[in-house]
Symmetry: C2
Subunit: 353 residues, 2 copies
DNA sequence: GTGAAAGCGCTAACAT
DNA sequence: ATGTTAGCGCTTTCAC
């Protein structure tokens, strides 16, 4: 026996607290070779039913569980993908994560995920931690705008797909919603209902989607030959306090806006609150980017530009696994359409000032 | 040079696609020993600034990233915890996951998570996959009611905390909301507002929380000396179709219920839809278990028994890491209080039948 | 301050 | 059908 002192002649498993039986322990107990245990554990052929039975018995008796760290080290593949998003608690990301997880599961992979909290440093830490874990692929909703730190990983073959926003300063796959088109449609919709002074409440201007939606706003206004005043634009953090202040400023101006376009679901919800509190004043039209649960049950219902978070996640994950399965070619950019859903709030006419 | 053929005299890194440089490659390139690289990578003392500099240079030049699989294999700890929940897309679990992640992050651990889709088999697969990955700890929102399969893992020292529902047939830590008390309060609230025929629309009876909430319902009715008719109780899947049917049956009965108690947020939302569609009919009071976004902005506002999902997650994760840091002792059961928030829907009087 | 050797638990390649 | 050997990339131990 070339063994260490782990085992004894009695067959008693070595079970000091915190240690676990290994394949060798199972092999010893079952009276077979190490490789046979490996075959049984992995369902490989070439084991007689009788031997297999003895091994299985040893496995359950010892409470053996294959150590995937060793397996991964040997095989090189981890069967896991990383997902980095902004905030797990944001309802927009729930369906997205779920979709990614579903696809991963269909491919036998686990999901490791983390939130960047919209902090580029944290994003990078997370991504690199995932790379150290040697995830096979990465789905990233980027917080930062410089992803050159990923170059070595990409070169090493880590499949990477960006979602919701494109990568910065590197060339990588991206799956996006049509923020520009959606925003343009939203604002055009308000214009079609008679509005000329329309406010835009958006996310931080550094965020790609925020910039695109602002661009869509400008495009619609320009197409209608309408001027845009600085006071009608507010981009920044989406915390309720800031949004409230910005909305109040637009609504209390000498020439107040008669309609608001909210740049994402967090902003929309806050604006709904503001408008509800001001119900006594002249009604203000509202269109929000992103759909959200119960938007149809408010009164008026909230008109939104809906993007399909689940489809975004599914598309990204599909693309990821296509890459992992050897799908080569140039980095691709997929843009998914948005859909304007009229529910009432966006169809209000400007109040006769 | 005892090296393999991986490297050449020119110092060119071995970069066939998909392979990554190792510490040995870095060592060769920097002209130092393997252990010195390890020291630098892990910030261990005992390296001269000059040596450290050379190593750092080789690291960035080669795009080296420590392979944590090997590290984990050697160290035995993975610095990761697993989270198994029902559905990432359910808004209840967003804040919960976020809280767990936050605590994990504070302890330098990664989060690996998956959804059981309320399927016990899938739950077990997931949990065992996480154990094979040798996660240090496990936070589980159980779908099944038999967790004896976890016994070997617990014996091996995998810290495990159950959340929202207790473990079945094993003794393990659990962090729960006071489902019984919350439900009793909710129903008592409706009774206090004059209701005598109150319907309960709940989750599958096999789920611990559903059973507890039903028990709370019965307790409140009994305390008020009110009878309970079979037709007022409906437990089952929370898909909208079933809930709609069950609600309709209660509302269209010969002696219809005048109030409904919804057993969780999914059910509440569907009931709100049903009641909105029936707005023409006599108003029906409603109290829902779980708070949800915008509940206050509906009209009437939805009265709820709120549980703090974030606190649930935080408490569980705290307990988990206390165990990991050597906190021993008997398995603990923590029960967090719920809070009734009156917003209007629960204060409606019974319509004079 | 630095490095050589052993070995974590598994799988791949090759015996038998 | 089954077993033996080597080694994945790192950390640990111990020698220098």
């Amino acid at each position: 026996m070339t063994d260490t002192a782990r085992d004894t002649a009695t067959g008693t498993p070595p079970r000091r607290y915190g240690s676990r039986p290994t394949m060798k322990d199972v092999a010893t107990r079952a009276g077979v070779g190490l490789k046979t245990v490996s075959r049984v554990v992995n369902g490989e052929p070439g084991v007689t039913p009788d031997t297999e039975h003895r091994v299985q018995e040893a496995i359950t008796a010892l409470g053996f569980r294959r150590n995937d760290s060793a397996r991964i080290l040997r095989k090189g593949r981890t069967a896991s993908v990383g997902l980095v998003l902004e905030d797990l608690a944001d309802p927009f990301y729930g369906p997205l994560s779920r979709a990614v997880e579903e696809v991963a599961r269909a491919h036998g992979a686990l999901l490791i995920n983390g939130s960047s909290a919209e902090d580029p440093v944290r994003e990078q830490e997370l991504v690199l931690a995932l790379c150290a874990r040697r995830v096979d692929g990465l789905v990233i909703i980027p917080a930062g705008d410089d992803h050159r730190y990923l170059a070595p990983e990409l070169a090493a073959g880590v499949a990477t797909v960006f979602v919701d926003r494109p990568a910065g300063r590197i060339d990588a796959d991206a799956v996006l919603s049509d923020s520009f088109g959606g925003a343009r449609d939203a604002v055009a919709h308000l214009i079609a209902h008679g509005h000329r002074r329309i406010g835009f409440l958006g996310d931080q201007p550094g965020i790609h989607t925020a910039a695109e939606r602002l661009r869509g706003y400008h495009a619609a206004m320009a197409a209608a030959g309408l001027p845009v005043h600085d006071g009608w634009l507010s981009l920044g953090p989406t915390d309720p306090e800031r949004v409230r202040g910005a909305a109040a400023a637009m609504l209390d101006a000498a020439e107040p806006v008669t309609a608001l376009f909210a740049g994402n679901n967090r902003v929309t919800v806050t604006v709904v609150r503001v408008l509800t509190e001001r119900a006594a004043a002249a009604p203000v039209a509202l269109v929000g980017f992103d759909d959200f649960e119960l938007a149809d049950l408010l009164s008026p219902g909230i008109t939104v530009v809906a993007q399909d978070a689940g489809r975004l996640g599914r598309t990204a994950a599909d693309l990821l696994f296509r890459r992992l399965d050897g799908g080569g070619g140039e980095p691709r950019r997929v843009v998914l359409p948005t859909r304007l859903i009229a529910r009432g709030s966006g169809e209000l006419s400007p109040s006769p000032a």
